[in-house]
């Protein structure tokens, strides 16, 4: 069978991706820039920027001179490969062999695939249409060889599909750059007057090798189909999903538990082989009447223990309503994490064993009470009391710096400060007495003030002057005055209790 290849060229891959992420960027001129040799260089530009002659490789300052309203975004290195990899995974729907081609394209081996779409024209139209819908600007081409498809997608002027054995004629009108040879060779060719490949094809081979090196000949042969060009196909991602069809509809809780156990066993076996653990999983139960129900679990630490995960699901099984019975169960891992290396476990066996036990306990609790009920805090770099702690992301996360101890903090803090009435001498003294919940507290001892300024970059507002107060009964409070004494008297608040 005549082999056929399709090449997809993403003209503005990175910019298109940004525009997909941030729709407000659509149809605006924007560029991605990265520092190179002490100046900002444009690495990618959007379609609208290209129309204004702002092209990759320009210095950002020059581009700004051409078009002052230019939006500039930071370029993340390595994004293109990742993006092409995931688009490649998506493109597996068109052919089983997809390869990433450089930093801006894909190569598809479409031998024996296009007829499923009717014809190559419809096939190409479908690819084009789907990628355009997603927001990518692409040029696609089909030819007998990968090199010819590549050349046609980048430099083809006439038609996207080169008929079988028509590549020699098609590339004859293309510039030397279509051969994918080194820039010095292209330069040399152009200097010698080869503006089109037509002149080059008929030349004696020995002469070409002597003047331009073996690479040019190889490329030429690859375009014409006289030398093979291997492509490295990407491995399809296998989704972490298991299904279990049931012969008879399952209606009982015990039956559902057995089904979940079977699914978990299959998925956990694969996870433990890949030393991965589950953080989130979704069970979909399809009912006989066509409707489906879902239950979801989450864990605090990556886990691939069937027993533990089953326990979490069992807590939620009563939420399912089987009615006539379930006929199909589907388990999908929504979030995975690499599990810790076992060598580490050997050294700190007791500590990590403990934390695994605690993680399992917390998972059980979360499964019962819902997300957000379990929290652990780390110090944050803010003086403002409400912002001085942040929630830890995982059980293993350690504080980046020490908990501050230089200033006393109350043991209990009210979520919203409560207003109190005070009698206080001006300007900077603690109150002599205050009324809280109808009780009058005479202040015997006081410490302060500790001024905490509002962080203007987060929130606008007045500063607080905190005092530690001890009343006649010996109870200790944390109170503050909001703002300065000015035209009107500042307000006082009770914010916490000292032990």
């Amino acid at each position: 069978m005549q082999s056929r290849y399709a090449a997809i060229w993403f003209k503005n891959l990175l910019c298109d991706q940004r525009a997909v992420r941030m729709p407000e960027l659509k149809e605006t001129a924007f560029v991605l820039a990265a520092p190179r040799k002490g100046r900002m260089l444009i690495t990618a530009s959007s379609v609208d920027a290209e129309q204004k002659r702002i092209l990759p490789g320009m210095v950002l300052a020059d581009a700004r001179a051409v078009f002052p309203e230019l939006t500039v975004l930071e370029d993340k290195p390595g994004l293109a490969e990742k993006l092409l990899g995931s688009i490649g995974q998506w493109a597996l729907r068109f052919t089983p062999i997809v390869a990433v081609d450089g930093a801006d394209g894909l190569l598809l081996d479409i031998t024996g695939c296009a007829h499923l779409w009717g014809s190559e024209k419809l096939y190409l139209q479908d690819i084009n249409q789907r990628l355009n819908q997603k927001g990518y600007h692409v040029r696609c081409a089909i030819a007998d060889t990968p090199a010819a498809a590549w050349a046609n997608s980048r430099y083809g002027r006439q038609k996207a599909i080169i008929e079988p054995a028509g590549q020699a004629q098609a590339i004859s009108v293309m510039p030397p750059a279509a051969l994918r040879v080194e820039p010095p060779v292209i330069e040399k060719l152009e200097k010698l007057g080869f503006y089109q490949l037509a002149g080059l094809i008929g030349m004696p081979r020995s002469m070409l090798r002597r003047r331009f090196g073996p690479q040019l000949l190889l490329r030429l042969d690859q375009v014409l189909g006289q030398a093979p060009e291997p492509i490295t196909a990407i491995e399809p991602d296998e989704p972490y999903r298991e299904t279990l069809p049931c012969l008879e509809a399952i209606r009982s809780g015990a039956g559902i538990e057995i089904a979940v156990q079977k699914l978990l066993e299959a998925i956990c076996q694969r996870l433990s082989k890949e030393s991965k653990g589950l953080r989130k999983a979704l069970l979909t139960a399809h009912r006989m009447d066509g409707s489906s129900q879902q239950i979801q679990i989450g864990t605090h630490a990556a886990s691939c223990s069937t027993q533990h995960l089953l326990k979490l699901f069992v807590l939620q099984v009563p939420k399912l309503r089987p009615d006539l019975g379930f006929e199909l169960f589907e388990l999908e891992a929504l979030m995975l994490e690499d599990t810790e290396q076992h060598t580490q476990m050997l050294f700190a066996q007791s500590a990590s064993g403990d934390s695994a036990e605690i993680a399992e306990l917390l998972d059980t609790i979360t499964a019962k009470t819902g997300q957000g009920s379990v929290s652990r805090y780390l110090p944050d770099e803010h003086y403002w009391p409400e912002r001085s702690v942040k929630v830890a992301g995982s059980l293993q996360q350690m504080p980046v710096f020490k908990w501050p101890t230089e200033r006393p903090r109350p043991i209990s803090l009210l979520t919203t400060p409560e207003k109190i009435h005070v009698t206080a001498p001006v300007p900077d003294y603690p109150p002599m007495l205050f009324r809280y919940l109808g009780m009058i507290h005479n202040v015997i001892k006081a410490d302060g003030p500790e001024r905490i300024e509002q962080e203007w970059w987060i929130q606008a507002g007045l500063h607080r002057d905190y005092y530690i107060i001890e009343d006649h009964q010996g109870a200790r409070y944390w109170i503050f005055r909001l703002g300065h004494y000015g035209k009107d008297f500042p307000e006082w608040y009770l914010h916490g209790f000292f032990p």
């Binding site: 306990l361 609790i365 019962k368 929290s375 110090p379 001085s388 410490d447 010996g474 109870a475 200790r476």
Partner: protein, 244 residues
Amino acid sequence: MKQLANKSELVTKLRRDILERQGYHSSTRHRKVEMGLGQIEKSFPNGVFPVGCVHELVSHSSEQAAAASGFMAAVLGKITRPGGMSVWISTARTVFAPGLKCFGVDPDRVIFIDVKNQKDLLWITEQCLKCQALSAVITELKDIGLTESRRLQLAVEQSRVTGLMHRINPSVVSSTAAAARWRITPVASTLCDGMPGVGFFRWHVELLKVRNGEPGSWDIQWMPGHFTQDNAAQPGKEALLKAG
């Protein structure tokens, strides 16, 4: 006379056996914790602060609750193993994590669990008390019956985790299966020579009920790192009668 001596020996042995059966293992069998509570510890069976059982603290106001939280944090700091984790369960949490640091507790080693209703709270407390990896479990609740508290006590007898049950504004102080019932009231701090400011935290600690021990009341002070006690123990019986 000799017979009498034998008898008293027998009685002490029997007492020890009873304690053993009630879950109070003699200090040689498990980790001994240096609480530094001085006189207060003498009130407990075997003369040590019992870990691995459930303690109950009762508070009737926010001020008392804060003092009790401080006392619990201090106890937590003493009984937590290095790197050990503990759990603080509540329905309406007011405890402020950075405030724990001055009691020798690393606030990032405490897991806070917020629960919506009492039923879930008790279930979670029991699950936590069964988890041997935890150092201590603190629960803030309003009311608890004898049956529920007995369940918690049974859970800790297996796992040897220390449970601190803090009852805030209880509608009725019913009897529970806890090993001890405490009430902590803040008292005015002392400052030497008219120094300005507020002194170290001082509390009036009342041990209202102790299983197999002597109730009493004391004034203690928390200095960074340890408890200090400045006056001798008052006779416990009167305090107990006064408290009802």
